[in-house]
Structure formats: structure tokens, C-alpha cells
């Protein structure tokens, strides 16, 4: 076995790949060859590193030097200096905002140092396309352990004790789900991995699959063993994740070659096989019943869940569906024990499975923070820690306004709740939800009505249209919001919105409709004054809703500084600007289409916006 | 031969008729009061397939001027396919007759069903007429 003294971990997550990380990899290999270092240094492509905002990334091990935002032209320098001469290149390292000195070691960068890795335990450490890497990091040991030394019930108890709850959004205790599924009598049962990650801005599952597909497979196998009578497993991945699909297929292929999937695994009587199913990208297919309908080959539409899917799921057979992150948490729980897992997080789950949030949660941190990317944090960490420590605070020194969690189904959390500990119950209490882990940070430049409209537009478009409240109701809500943001809003609209929202929440067929009004409800709750500004004053305080802006010309500035240059008049598409050269111009508000072109073209700052 | 004799000469036809079709057809012709050839001397066989070429040669030898074999239409044979054999036999026999120096037209194979009394009538008349044209068959010893 050839080993290298140097390992260059090139991030090949989707974020870095789209920033040309494969070109970086090629350049590295070329340069290494040039310096005849091929025997000493190995270039490894890894799954997502997490710090996507800084990509493309290379971590040089064993020193742990973190290079960021690399360009191909940086590579000769990097190789010559660091690899050949042993001098890490400072100018390619990460510099925290508001500081000047770079931080060379990855482990010292706050973005990484404040995280706790369970689901992402192999992040940046292994080549996801090589099963041996996974095994070398202790992979499949948990499977071996359950098959060799644990009964299915023991496994079940371990998971129950750990307090693991569904990471896909609902937070249903995983152990209870497995137990129910196990209890239902049937010769044929299924396990499903829900990898139909559809929330805008969320990419936790994708990163896990791309970086560590075997951990999901192993988790599913342990689940299948615990539930028993599972004939096969399905992984439902959305078509928009080609790399994830590829890595899953490679991983399944490799596991089959090793006999880790198939019949008589580890020479026991345990048989298991996994099939990958690709979803066509409907958001609603992340809903368990819609997902199963989709696997069955029908249009992905949800159905009533009064009879739960653990009883009648895929092809009407008992089916245990868990999210990627949930599955991936299973092997460490088995290996390290339920106590270890439940030592992380909040609350107490020894008597009530709903009594606390245990373990870690992966969030995709996005929006107006400095460090965007994937973060795994222990449950109970405050929003402030995530946004200001790991996330490095608000970009450009702006003022934090709100954070939206739980994707389009979640809600907005205002600044005064910044110290809220992140766990299932707390987030729900304030009107939002854990969701699958999207976290979008908003600053003072974000109009909350506009943001609510943005998320509602998403759910409205993604509504399958099956039930009336979701299909008709969300569209009506959106119409009202459109009216409000374009200045046609009436005061009673706010009540109408609330009334409609409540009915949709209560009467929708599935969770998509049931949570679709959340962004509206939370913004109405926390930022009602912004709505009122829109409907009463016809103003958008954040100056986002263009229809509510008024463009005027500062006549003094126009004449004195700009000498009535007339550029604005020439460029106005609505012919709303009146004035002659060398004289002051002004805007006919009746004609003005609020396009903002005048503002952009004026070189003398004579256009005022309100 | 004298002219008077020639005038009074009428051909002798031996007809082998199958029991189910042509024989019944002949019967129908009779019942229907149709005029058929009086020259015909009928021998009933169960099936036209029973007709041995020997019988035909023997008939010619013994003074028949023509021989007619009547059977069911192809596909309608009472015995499914007896008439197929007849068909081939007659064809072979015609080749042989030709070599024998006997006009093959003197041997006729006709498919006449039980319902075709009229066909029986006009076929026999036609055969008689044809034989009249061919004249008597005078065999050289």
C-alpha cells in the first residue's frame, strides 16, 4: 500500500466544483509532477468541506493548512513554496473579516472550530468515491457490530435511547418510527432515504451524499436490520443532484462488490439491497407520501396520512422513511453509544422521546452573513453563535434584521430572539421550524414583505395543486402580497391574509400547504409595521419594493453639479423625465415606471429615492 | 362405317359417382326433372377415391367412349380428403392415357355437389357432346 507524506484535500463539493475545483486539482497534479513530488504528495478529492463561501478550497495535510479562493494561477506558487519548500503560502490563506492576519490552520478558523461533526464526521477526510477511505475511518464497523453482537431490538433501543429525531423537518423520534414500523405485521417492508432536498438555499443532504455516501447506506442497513422484514431500500434523490446520484451509485456498486449489499451480508442471514430513484424535482416530493407515490411511478402527489406510512407506505407496505442526515447519524450512535449522542443537545429524552433535541444539526448558512456554507452544530446552540461566530457576522457591517429557518415552510425570527437556542421545540414556539436546516440571514436591506412574498411564491409554485386550500389559497395569498408590494394593498388585506393563512394551515392535505403560510404569519407577527407601511403609507422601508419607491430629482444638484445634462431623460423608458439641457429636470410621477434607470445613469447623484 | 350407323351411334359413358355428392346430385337432377345425358352408365362408389385407374382402363377396354368421375368439391369431401387422391390419380391417368394414344378428354373429373343437380345435368350433356365430337373410341388389338 503506497502512502504519501502529504495529502492535498481538494474540495469537490458542488459549490467548489462549480468554482472550478477540478481545474485546481489538475493544476496541482501537474505542478506536483513538475517538481517530481508525485511519490510524496497525493491529491485527493473530497466531499463538501462546508466552507462553501470560500471555495475553491484545498487543505494540505498533515499540517492542516487551509487555502481558499484558489485560482489555477496560484497553484505553481503553492506547490513550490509549500510542498517543495515547506513554506505555507500566507496570501492564499483565510483572513477573518475585520482582521488582517491570516489563519493558516483549518482547525483554528472559527467557522470550523465552533462546529461539532457527527453527520459530517468524514467531511474533507475521505474520497467519497473510494469505499476503502470510508472503511479506514471506521466505516461499516457499526454494521458489523449490529450484525454480530446486537439483536434488532437492542439496536432499536439504542436509537430510542439516543434521542435521535428526524432531521428532515418534522423531528419525529426516529426510534419510535422504527419501532412502529417493526410492529406492523408484513413480510415486505421498505426503508427509504429521502434525499429530495428541495428547500431553496439548503444543501445539507447533498453535501453529505456527495461527501460520505456510505454513511447513509450504512445507516439504512442498520435501520433495515432493526426493523426486520425489509426487502429493499430506496434512495430518492432529486434529479438536480447529478453528482449525488453518481456518488450514490458508485457507493452502492462498491458496497455490492464487497458483499456489503446483497445476500448474506457478513455471512449472516441479513440480506439488503438499495435502489436509487431519481425525482424529477418537484418540491412536494420531499413530502413522504408524495415521495412514495413518485417511487411507485405515479405523479408525486401527497395523500392523507391518517394511516401512517410506517403502516401503509410504499406500495401499501410498511415503510420507514428517513432523511439523509437522520440515516447518517445512525452509525456513530451504534459505535459510540446512545449516551454519547444524547450527551449532545438539549432536554431529556429518557422518558419522553419528544422531550429534547439531541445530537447535532447541519445547517446551510446563507444570506447576508460573511461565512456562508455548511455548518454542523450541537442542538441548543444559539442563533447568535451560528450567525455571529461561525457565520462571522453580517456582511458589510450592516445591521442584522432577521433569520429565516426551516426553508419556505419555516418562519422569520427577528433580532430580539437572536439568543434563542436552536432546537425543535424552541423554533416551533416562535412560529418557525427546524425544517431540514436552511438558515437565511437577513439584514436591514431586506424587505420582510418582499421576503415573505418570495417564499410564498416558491411554495405556491411548488404546490401540487391537489387540495383546494393549498392550490387556491396560496395563490390568493400571493395575489394579496403582490398587491401590497405594488402599492395596491388595503388595510383589510392584512386580516384577510391572516384568515386565509389560518385556514390553509388547518385544512391543507399535506405539510407543504400546512406550512406554506408560515413566512407570512411570522412576518406579520414580528414585522407588522412593515406591512402597515406598505399598505398605509405606500412605502417600503427597506426600499426593496420598487412600486412603492418615489424617484425625484434634486433640482439643485441637477442644475448646479450636473448642468441639466439630460442623460436621465434620454434613458428613461417611460419618457417620464421632463426638462431641458442646462435646466433642472423633474420626474412626472404619473408616468414613472420605477425602473431606477435614472438613478443608475445619473453621474451627479441628483436622483433621490424614497 | 355406314352413315346410318354413325348417326345412330351414341357414346357410352361410364360414370363413377361418389355416394355423397355427385350420386346424390344426379339423383337431384332426376328428381328435378332435369335432362341429363342418357349415355351415362353410373357406377356408385362411396368416394371418388375408390376409383382405381384399373376401372377406367377396363371401361375403355370394354367399349366405353368416355369415363367420368364425379366427386365432392375439394374441401367438401365426406371423407375429408378422399377427393384429393382422386384428383392426383386422374391427373396421372391422363398423362398415361395420352401416352396410350387415347385422348385424355375422354376422361373427365367433375366436382358436383349434392345440390348441383343442374351441374350434373349439363356436365353430362356437355361430355356427351364432346365425345360425339371425338367420335367412338376404337381400340386396336
Amino acid at each position: 500500500m503506497k502512502s504519501y507524506r502529504l495529502q492535498l484535500m481538494v474540495c469537490a463539493g458542488t459549490g467548489c466544483v462549480s468554482n472550478h475545483s477540478f481545474e485546481i486539482k489538475d493544476a496541482l497534479e501537474k505542478e506536483i509532477a513538475k517538481h517530481k513530488l508525485q511519490t510524496e504528495a497525493e491529491v485527493v478529492t473530497t466531499g463538501c468541506n462546508g466552507f462553501c463561501g470560500a471555495g475553491p478550497l484545498v487543505v494540505v495535510q498533515p499540517d492542516g493548512i487551509f487555502y481558499q479562493m484558489l485560482k489555477v494561477s496560484d497553484i505553481p506558487l503553492l506547490v513550490e513554496e509549500h510542498l517543495l519548500k515547506g513554506r505555507p503560502v500566507k496570501k492564499l490563506m483565510y483572513v477573518p473579516p475585520k482582521e488582517e492576519a491570516p489563519i493558516p490552520k483549518m482547525s483554528n478558523i472559527p467557522f470550523f472550530s465552533d462546529q461539532t461533526l457527527v453527520a459530517l464526521r468524514n467531511r474533507g477526510m475521505i474520497d467519497p468515491e473510494n469505499i476503502n477511505d470510508y472503511i479506514a475511518r471506521g466505516g461499516y464497523k457499526a454494521l458489523a457490530k449490529v450484525l454480530m453482537s446486537m439483536t434488532p431490538d437492542e439496536v432499536l433501543q439504542e436509537i430510542k435511547k439516543s434521542g435521535l429525531r428526524g432531521r428532515g423537518g418534522g423531528g419525529f423520534p426516529t426510534g419510535i418510527k422504527w419501532e412502529t414500523c417493526k410492529r406492523i405485521q408484513s413480510d415486505t417492508k421498505y426503508v427509504i432515504c429521502n434525499a429530495d432536498e428541495g428547500d431553496p438555499g439548503a444543501f445539507m443532504d447533498r453535501s453529505i451524499i456527495e461527501g460520505d455516501p456510505h454513511s447513509v447506506i450504512e445507516g439504512m442497513m442498520i435501520g433495515a436490520y432493526a426493523i426486520q422484514n425489509i426487502c429493499e431500500g430506496y434512495i430518492y434523490v432529486r434529479m438536480e443532484y447529478p453528482l449525488a446520484i453518481k456518488r450514490f451509485n458508485i457507493a452502492i456498486e462498491q458496497a455490492k462488490e464487497y458483499g456489503l449489499l446483497g445476500e448474506k451480508i457478513f455471512d449472516t442471514d441479513f440480506n439488503f439491497d438499495i435502489k436509487v430513484r431519481r425525482g424529477a424535482g418537484a418540491f412536494v416530493c420531499g413530502e413522504s407520501t408524495a415521495l412514495m407515490t413518485s417511487i411507485e411511478g405515479n405523479p408525486g402527489e401527497p395523500r392523507a396520512k391518517y394511516i401512517h406510512t410506517v403502516e401503509k407506505g410504499l406500495w401499501d407496505k410498511p415503510t420507514c422513511l428517513n432523511n439523509v442526515e437522520t440515516w447518517t447519524n445512525v452509525p456513530p450512535i451504534i459505535l459510540k453509544g446512545a449516551e454519547w449522542f444524547s450527551s449532545i443537545g438539549t432536554g431529556d429524552v429518557t422518558h419522553d422521546a419528544w422531550g429534547g433535541s439531541k445530537g447535532t444539526k447541519v445547517f446551510s448558512l446563507a444570506g447576508k452573513v460573511n461565512n456562508t456554507g455548511l455548518v454542523e452544530v450541537p442542538m441548543g446552540i444559539t442563533l447568535r453563535d451560528i450567525i455571529f461566530n461561525i457565520g462571522g457576522g453580517i456582511r458589510d457591517g450592516k445591521k442584522f434584521k432577521a433569520v429565516q429557518t426551516g426553508g419556505p415552510s419555516g418562519g422569520f425570527i427577528p433580532e430580539n430572539l437572536i439568543n434563542l437556542p436552536v432546537d425543535y421545540e424552541e423554533l416551533t414556539k416562535v412560529g418557525s421550524m427546524m425544517g431540514s436546516g436552511g438558515m437565511v440571514v437577513m439584514d436591514e436591506d431586506n424587505c420582510m414583505v418582499d421576503m415573505a412574498k418570495y417564499f410564498l411564491k416558491f411554495t405556491q409554485e411548488e404546490s401540487c395543486g391537489k387540495c383546494i386550500p393549498c392550490r387556491e389559497g396560496t395563490k390568493r395569498m400571493l395575489d394579496i402580497l403582490e398587491n401590497i408590494t405594488s402599492g395596491k394593498g388595503k388595510e383589510e388585506d392584512l386580516n384577510l391574509l391572516e384568515e386565509l393563512s389560518n385556514v390553509i394551515v388547518e385544512s391543507s392535505l399535506c405539510a407543504l400547504g400546512g406550512s406554506a403560510p408560515n413566512p407570512v404569519l411570522t412576518t406579520l407577527k414580528y414585522f407588522r409595521e412593515e406591512y402597515e407601511a406598505h399598505v398605509k403609507d405606500k412605502k417600503c422601508p427597506a426600499r426593496v419594493c420598487k412600486q412603492l419607491l418615489t424617484y425625484t430629482i434634486d433640482e439643485k444638484q441637477c442644475v448646479e453639479v450636473g448642468h441639466g445634462c439630460g442623460v436621465c431623460k434620454k434613458n428613461c423608458p417611460d419618457n417620464a423625465i421632463i426638462g431641458e439641457i442646462k435646466k433642472a429636470h423633474h420626474i412626472d410621477q404619473n408616468k414613472c415606471g420605477k425602473c431606477g434607470v435614472c438613478y443608475d445613469v445619473c453621474r451627479f447623484n441628483a436622483i433621490r429615492v424614497e | 362405317m355406314s352413315t346410318t350407323k354413325e348417326k345412330s351411334w351414341s357414346p357410352r359413358i361410364v360414370a363413377f359417382l361418389c355416394n355423397w355428392c355427385t350420386y346424390t346430385g344426379a339423383d337431384l337432377a332426376g328428381v328435378s326433372r332435369l335432362k341429363s345425358s342418357p349415355s351415362v352408365r353410373v357406377i356408385r362408389t362411396m368416394c371418388s377415391g375408390r376409383v382405381d385407374p384399373t376401372f377406367v382402363l377396363k371401361a375403355f377396354k370394354l367399349g366405353a367412349d368416355g369415363v367420368m368421375i364425379g366427386g365432392c368439391h375439394i374441401g367438401d369431401c365426406h371423407y375429408s380428403e378422399g377427393n384429393f387422391k382422386t384428383l392426383r390419380r386422374v391427373e396421372m391417368l391422363k398423362i398415361l392415357l395420352d401416352q396410350y394414344g387415347i385422348d385424355p378428354r375422354r376422361l373427365r373429373l367433375e366436382w358436383i355437389s349434392a345440390s348441383e343437380g343442374d351441374k350434373y345435368a349439363h356436365t353430362t350433356l356437355d361430355f356427351e357432346q364432346q365425345l360425339r365430337e371425338l367420335g367412338p373410341l376404337q381400340l386396336t388389338e
Binding site: 392523507a304 390568493r476 | 355423397w20 376409383v51 384399373t54
Partner: protein, 589 residues
């Protein structure tokens, strides 16, 4: 059984009963718009939302598909919360489909007149599709044809056919149109071919029907061609409604082999296809009927309840009955169909009886040859039926009568007065020829019998044996043998039955002794004969190296006798010697 409490009433229901059904049994109305007992609850209109109270927790569920499983569950079907939900929901619908009656009615019953929403997708049509999914569900779950489906999502959702085209997988059962609550789905008939008058089509009208009202036994049967179950395996609704569980879909037409000694062929007749005679306008002109259709009209259980009516519902002013359509006609059938004259007279009598119409009979010859027939003919003449002797050349439609009503113009020659006549009529009845069944030739082959020149089955002897055939044990009766009226058919059938019974009472049948036999001393086993026997009676005896004939199988055709080159086969009754002697004898004079 469990007990639940709905709106304060304790109700006992079976486990897994849905709330809707439980409420229905308690006489509590829960509004629904997408619910049908025919298929699994779809649960999308959400109007049936109700509150269930479990301890302190209250939850809103849809009544149509929530299965009751626990004792003591409390259900509130009409709380303020629920009322609010229903109101908003129906307002959402009403704002989009303001003119659809089911929506309007539902809104009214929920106390909503005007919606407070403005829908950008407002559809004013009264028969708009309200996306209830009933059609899709019935097509998928009940019919199992799975043709209809939804396309697009969200507000753009619509019901479509695959690729939005007519699809050959559609079995045109009409279930979707049947369940559609708004009438959005319509059935358009592209098929006028089934009968001259579509409504009067004589075949089955529904998948389950009693073939005719006088059918014996008078039990309904499933028409496989139109039954959904046989086409797709779906539906099966009838079996759920049939309490004695008498419906058996597995029952198939089966071929049963019965060993019989005698067979009576009474396969009947068919009527000539009138469409091959365009001059009479059958199938093209209104009010030109075949006699069978007219008989149907005269029937008191028929489409008009026995009244003689034109297609527009009016009583005809003049009716023509034309004899010999395809009978006694060199172009079609030369024979006389025998029954037409008399039923034509009957028609004339009934038309006279039931209407004030003038009746015209167009005949070639009147043939009233049966007992009492001539007397009936005489009576008809006294009733004032117009008898015109002559064949009708053409029937034309004239669109502008004096009263603006179209009428039929019959052009014919009246040979009795030697004049060409044109007669205006409102209705014409054609008397089509009786002809053999279309598959008579196949039947003939099966039974090794013959057809006469007119293609009816041939009897053994036209005078002496009109009921038996050339094949022993096969008898014929009725119109299969030739056109005849009811008394004649009955007489012939009785005769045939008697003949068969006499054979049965004999107990045994005498076989024809005509058989072939191999003379072992002369057979050398050349095997020429082996393949010849259509009955497989000839076999080769391997150890003796000679052929052998099974006497029981042999039918005595003699083909093998003729073929044996060694003359080792003799045909009893028809030996070479016998036949040669016959030849000798015949030619000796």
C-alpha cells in the same frame, strides 16, 4: 365495534369506518365535493374537515378519509373553526368558478353568497372543471383504464388525457362523464353505425342487460364488450350491490364437449343487409325501416311503446310496405322468403289499427298460402289497404312538402293499371329477404353436410326426407333448411325430434358394413396406404411388417383399396371384382 361521539351523539360503528360514514349513519350532514363511495376517498376539497378531540388535543382532519380506530373519540363537525374553514374554502372555489351550480349550491348551503376574494383565474363557465378529481379517480380506481390524469401543478392544474389526445386505451365507458359533477366532461358519439336509428339499436344498451324483454330465462347478463370489468379488470361495482352475490366475473363462455349421438341443426336465418340496396335509402333516409325494426316499434315495450311514429314524433300520414326486398330478385336471392307477405299484411292491419295513416302494399305476387291466410288477406282488402302490384324502383326524400315537412317519395310501376306512379309517404317498411346465416358454410363443414344452391342446408331428399341430411344422425329444421314460417318450422322440428327419438328408442344403430380390410397373405408392407386414411384407421404392424386396418375407425371410403398396389386391401361391398363386373355388365349392352 367502537363508540365515538359525533356532535354530542354517541354512535357505534365498526372499526376503520370513516367519519363521513359514521356521521351519515347518525344523520349528520358533512359537506363533500370530491367524495364518492365508488373509489377511495380523495380528500382534496377539504370541505369535510372536522375537529377530532382526543383528550385535550384538538385536531382538524378530513371526515371522508379519517378511519375511526379508537373508542371515545369526540368529533365536532360544525364548530366555529370548522365553519370558518368551510366558508373560506367555498369562497375560494366560488371566486374561481362563480357560475358552476354545484359550487353555487354548496356555497349557499354554507351561507356564502359572494366570495371576498377576487380570483385571477375566474372562469365564468357553468360547466367548468372544478378539479374535484372524480373523473381521474373513477378512471384509475374503478375503471382501471387510467386514462385521465392531472397535468401541471398548483394553480395551473388541469385534467388531461395522455398527451392531450384521444387515446386508444380509453374504453369509452363514460364513467368520467357520469361522475363529473359539473358536466364538464361530455360524451360525443362518433358511432352511428350500430343501427339505422341510433336510439333504436337492438343490441345491449348497458353492460348488464336482459337481452330482450321476452328472454328465457329472464335473467340479466353481462355484455363483455361493454363491461368495464372484462376490459380493464376494474369496476366490479355491480358485485358490491348484488346481495345474493350472484355475479361471477370469472364465468366465461366455455366450450363444452358433449358426446351425443344425434344433432339437430336449427341455426336459423339472417336478414339480408339492406344497405347494399341504396335505392331504398335504408340507413340513409329517416323513416325507412326494416321489418324487424318496425316490429320492435310495434312492441308495447319498444321505444315508442307500441305507437307508430315518425322520427320527429309525429304520426305518419301514409305508410308504405315494400315486399320482396332481395327475395325473388335475380340480383340477390331468386327464392321467395315465404313469410313476408303475411307479416306485411299484419303490419298493414296494425298501422290501420293504431293510426289514421293510409297504407300501401307494394308487392309482386301475394302469397297467402297457409291455413287461414287467404282469409286474412281478404279481410285486409276490406280494410282499405292500397295494394300496388309492382316493384319499387326508388325511394327519395323530398324536403319541401306543402306543409314544409319532408316526406318520402316512392317511385314504382303499378302493373295492374300499367302506369308509373309516385307515391308520397311518411314511412316505409322494407321486407328484407331471409338468407342463410353468414357462417352456414362453416357449420356445413363441421357436420359434413351439404348446402343447396341457395346455401340453406340440404336435406337428404327434397320430398321423401326433408329433415335428415347425408350425414347419419344430423338433422335439420326450420329456416336453416329454407325460409319458412312458424307453423312450418314447428312441424319440421317436431318431425326431426320424433325421428331422433325413434333412433334413441331403438337403443342401437346399425353401422354401414362398407369397410376396407387388409388380406394379410397379399400385403407386403409397402406402406403406400399408411398415410391415406383421414380417420387414421390404417396402421403399420411392425412385427409382421404389414399394414392393418382398424375396422371400427374405417368409414369405408375405399381410397386405400384403390391405392393398394398389391390389391391386398379389399373394400367390402365395393370389391374390385364387383366393380369390374359392374363395368362389364354396363358395357355389355
Amino acid at each position: 365495534m367502537i363508540t365515538v361521539n359525533i356532535d354530542g351523539k354517541d354512535i357505534q360503528v365498526a372499526e376503520e369506518t370513516t367519519i363521513v360514514k359514521a356521521a351519515e349513519s347518525a344523520g349528520i350532514w358533512i359537506p363533500t365535493m370530491c367524495y364518492s363511495e365508488l373509489f377511495e376517498p380523495y380528500g382534496i376539497c377539504r370541505l369535510c374537515s372536522v375537529e377530532i378531540i382526543r383528550g385535550k388535543r384538538t385536531r382538524i382532519v378530513t371526515a371522508c378519509n379519517y378511519p375511526l380506530r379508537e373508542n371515545g373519540l369526540k368529533i365536532r363537525t360544525n364548530s366555529p373553526v370548522i365553519q370558518e374553514i368551510r366558508k373560506v374554502l367555498i369562497e375560494l372555489m366560488l371566486s374561481r368558478w362563480p357560475n358552476v351550480p354545484v359550487v353555487k349550491n354548496m356555497a349557499a348551503s354554507l351561507g356564502v353568497i359572494e366570495p371576498k376574494f377576487v380570483s385571477l383565474e375566474r372562469d365564468e363557465a357553468e360547466d367548468a372543471c372544478i378539479l374535484c378529481g372524480m373523473c381521474v379517480n373513477i378512471c384509475r380506481d374503478v375503471v382501471k383504464a387510467n386514462i385521465l390524469g392531472f397535468a401541471n401543478r398548483g394553480i395551473k392544474r388541469e385534467v388531461v388525457l395522455p398527451y392531450e389526445k384521444m387515446n386508444s386505451e380509453c374504453i369509452v365507458c363514460g364513467a368520467c362523464a357520469y361522475v363529473c359533477p359539473t358536466g364538464h366532461i361530455k360524451i360525443k358519439s362518433l358511432d352511428y353505425e350500430r343501427g339505422a336509428v341510433a336510439d333504436w339499436y337492438l343490441g345491449p344498451k348497458t353492460a348488464i342487460n336482459i337481452p330482450t324483454l321476452q328472454a328465457v330465462p329472464r335473467v340479466p347478463k353481462i355484455d363483455e364488450e361493454s363491461c368495464i370489468k372484462t376490459q380493464t379488470g376494474g369496476c366490479g361495482i355491480c358485485s358490491t350491490y348484488c346481495e345474493p352475490e350472484a355475479i361471477n366475473y370469472e364465468d366465461k363462455d366455455e366450450e363444452v364437449e358433449i358426446e351425443v349421438g344425434q344433432i339437430l341443426l336449427a341455426t336459423g336465418f339472417q336478414l339480408i343487409d339492406l344497405k347494399q340496396m341504396p335505392q331504398y335509402g335504408y340507413g340513409r333516409l329517416d323513416n325507412v325501416y326494416s321489418s324487424l325494426e318496425f316490429e320492435h316499434m310495434l312492441n308495447s315495450t319498444g321505444p315508442t311503446g307500441g305507437l307508430v311514429k315518425c322520427k320527429d314524433g309525429s304520426e305518419p300520414r301514409a305508410v308504405g310496405i315494400i315486399h320482396c326486398i332481395g327475395s325473388r330478385d335475380e340480383n340477390y336471392h331468386k327464392y321467395c322468403s315465404r313469410v313476408c307477405c303475411m307479416y306485411a299484411l299484419k303490419f298493414a292491419h296494425l298501422v290501420k289499427d293504431r293510426t289514421k295513416a293510409e297504407v300501401y302494399q307494394f308487392y309482386i305476387d301475394m302469397r297467402a298460402f297457409g291455413k287461414g291466410y287467404e282469409e286474412f288477406y281478404k279481410r285486409l282488402l276490406d280494410e282499405g289497404v292500397n295494394m300496388i302490384r309492382g316493384k319499387v324502383a326508388e325511394i327519395a326524400e323530398v324536403h319541401s312538402g306543402s306543409d314544409g315537412k319532408p316526406y318520402l317519395l316512392v317511385k314504382c310501376e303499378d302493373t295492374l293499371i300499367g302506369k308509373f306512379r309516385e307515391i308520397a309517404l311518411d314511412m316505409v317498411i322494407l321486407c328484407p329477404a331471409i338468407e342463410p346465416q353468414f357462417d352456414a358454410a362453416d357449420v356445413k363443414k363441421i357436420f359434413s353436410i351439404s348446402q343447396s344452391p341457395d346455401k340453406f342446408f340440404l336435406e337428404r331428399h327434397p320430398k321423401l326426407d326433408p329433415i335428415s341430411t347425408m350425414t347419419d344422425g344430423v338433422f335439420i329444421a326450420g329456416c336453416a333448411q329454407g325460409p319458412k314460417d312458424i307453423p312450418d318450422s314447428v312441424a319440421q322440428a317436431s318431425a326431426a325430434a320424433a325421428r331422433m327419438l325413434s333412433l334413441i328408442s331403438l337403443g342401437e344403430v346399425a353401422l354401414d358394413p362398407v369397410k376396407a380390410e387388409v388380406v394379410d397373405e397379399y400385403c407386403s408392407g409397402c406402406r403406400i396406404c399408411n398415410n391415406l386414411c383421414p380417420y387414421g384407421a390404417i396402421s403399420f404392424v411392425d412385427d409382421k411388417k404389414i399394414s392393418n386396418i382398424n375396422e371400427m375407425l374405417c368409414k369405408g371410403c375405399g381410397t386405400c383399396v384403390a391405392a393398394c398396389p398389391a390389391s391386398a386391401i379389399t373394400g367390402k361391398g365395393f370389391t374390385d371384382m364387383q366393380i369390374l363386373s359392374e363395368i362389364e355388365g354396363l358395357l355389355s349392352i
